[in-house]
Amino acid sequence: MNAIQTPLHTEDYDALEVGTTATTASKGSVRVPWRFLGGRALFYAFTLWAAVTINFLLPRLMKGDAVSAYLARNRNISPEAADGLRALLGLDTDKSLFQQYIDYWSLLVRGDLGVSLLHGLRPVTEVISQALPWTIGLVGFATIVSFAIGTIAGAIVGWRRGSRLDAIIPITTFLSTIPYFWLGLLAIALFSVNLRWFPIGKAYGVGWSPELSFEFIGQVIHHGFLPAMTIVIASLGGWVLGMRNMMLTVLDEDYITVAQAKGMTNRRVLWGYAARNAVLPQIQSFALSIGFIVGGTIVMEMVFSYPGVGKLLLDATNAKDYALMQGVFLVITLSVLVANILADVAYAFLDPRTRQTGA
């Protein structure tokens, strides 16, 4: 008995075309990974909404009398400002919760974050915008330096595994388990009080006001050196360790052996192949740790009395200036989101895998 036969498919799909996720290499312009970036943008929009909603809910969870007592203490607020504050701080209980929410959003969209009672009734946005550049400067500078030094050091330590350089790992790890603020205080005790190399705090000398002159910039550098160095030293350990671990994993891969067998110089293998692949997860963890970096910077500002948003938050907390507290939190969250977006964009363009469709 013959076997039953079925006609073969005429329109076969090409297994190679459908079965893999590789797309044709495009010359010239870089393919923009729209799907990846679009997904991230959606996520950040959602996170922003969540942060705003948390900000909305927080004062409404507190005991209401604390807030109204605070408002009552300050008589010379204009009626509009008072209304704005009431909406921000959850005292407009005559309206429904949903209505309060709408009002809150309309305030935010107009850029009105209330007035700061601690700072002489100036608008919160104005107070924050004066402090923000200092924080961004300090944290931006310190983070980039720390990331760069840490990643490069980690790559070298990973490359020269088994050598005496391995001792760097426990040293930097020890430094990063020390609480930021204590390291800062020690730095002050040693360098400011005893050695008198650096001033004790603040961003610039007493009696100066910000201006664009060499002397002022010199002052800024002089005052900012200690805080920046403390952040760098404290956060170095994490970058070194992460990079070194990734290097060890990458160096075991076959393509490294191929590169070496091809006769490439050690330097090219180390930097062009190994470090380049090991750095990708570093960028991801950098994006994730922005929140922690911000936290550390806040503490640093408190220790050094650096006039950034961190110190602003501390003063506001102590004085129970709720409007300013809320505003600072919102601004900090927004900055973290922006930094995350930038890191994601950088990662998307660096990792060839995210550039493919459907990958």
Partner: protein, 326 residues
């Protein structure tokens, strides 16, 4: 015909129990655990170990450098620094572990469930995790903590735990997703095992190392968070921990007046516990990723023979003593 079994070790119940804790058996973990154990003992026996009550004021002995009566000197009103540090251990240990337990439990529930499920439920939980990851924790805690007047330790631990679960959840989700597609999980599903048994009995044991590492990391973060918040003053100074001691020291100008016996010990203790916890985590890391363990050793072994592990070409030794054979 029975297939022969050439097994050397006999697997007993005791050796299986030991295998479960294999991740703690290397030198680094043991060192870390010992240091941690020391602090735990100090916390438990604080009342017995401290020579004085931490609040005992002695107006005749203010700002004293270390002496025989006061091993770590005294504060601005004559309290014994050593006793304060000893008593401070308790708050740190309790809050640290409590916060980590809360955070790890949440991380396990959210991470494993979102890793096992697929579709919108998994994505939603993942989005929730990422939100908590991105929103900066310290400012949030500062604001939340300032809402309370005198929070008990439990509340502080709960707040720290609620802020810190996201990292572990993310890691566990990734690992669960990779486990989920393994055949033995598919076999359990095909046999009709209920979901809760698959997660609890089949998956969790394979996630143990990750959970341990996440727990240890969270303890570190909680302790750092607690001491930082105490130093700032957001957490009221009626609770005793090393951070509040530093708060008083700083307020009384100890840093400017070089009263090192007051501000060095608390900070060193924080660092010591941090080091201990990091060592434990290193040990777990090396257990999970054997490459980390052997990489340095291989290189050192090769170095002894005069070879460099990074050389592209395998060096041929020319000082062999055997005759060349055809």
């Amino acid at each position: 015909m029975t297939a022969p079994l050439n097994i050397i070790t006999r697997s007993t119940a005791r050796s299986r129990f030991g295998a479960a804790f294999a991740m703690f058996r290397n030198r680094k973990s043991i060192t870390g655990l010992s240091i941690l154990g020391f602090f735990v003992l100090v916390a438990i026996f604080a009342d017995v170990l401290a020579p004085y009550s931490p609040t005992k004021v002695d107006p005749t002995a203010r700002f004293q450098a270390p002496s025989f009566e006061h091993w770590l000197g005294t504060t601005h009103i004559g309290e014994d620094v050593l006793s304060q540090v000893i008593h401070g251990t308790r708050g740190v240990i309790v809050v640290g572990f409590l916060a980590a337990i809360i955070a790890t439990l949440i991380a396990i529930i959210v991470g494993v469930i979102s890793g096992y499920l697929s579709g919108w439920r998994s994505e939603a939980l993942s989005a929730l995790t990422n939100v908590f990851l991105v929103i900066p924790g310290l400012p949030l805690i500062i604001i939340v903590a300032s809402m309370f007047d005198n929070p008990p330790l439990f509340v502080i631990a709960a707040v720290l735990g609620l802020i810190g679960w996201a990292w572990g959840a993310r890691v566990l989700r990734a690992q669960t997703m990779s486990l989920r597609n393994r055949d033995f999980i598919q076999a359990a599903r095909a046999n009709g095992e209920p979901l809760r048994r698959i997660i609890a009995v089949e998956m969790l044991p394979n996630l143990m190392a990750l959970i341990a590492a996440s727990f240890v990391g969270t303890v570190t973060a909680a302790i750092l968070g607690l001491t930082t918040l105490s130093y700032i003053g957001v957490i009221p100074v009626t609770t005793y921990n090393w951070g509040t001691i530093l708060n008083w020291a700083s307020a009384q100008g100890a840093f400017r007046q070089n009263q090192w016996w007051w501000y060095l010990p608390p900070g060193l203790c924080i660092a010591a516990i941090g080091v201990a916890l990091s060592l434990i985590n290193f040990g777990i890391d090396e257990y999970v990723n054997p490459r980390l363990r052997s990489a340095g050793e291989r290189a050192r072994a090769m170095k002894k023979k005069g070879l460099n592990i990074n050389d592209a070409v395998t060096a041929v030794r020319t000082n062999t003593t055997t005759k060349e054979t055809r």
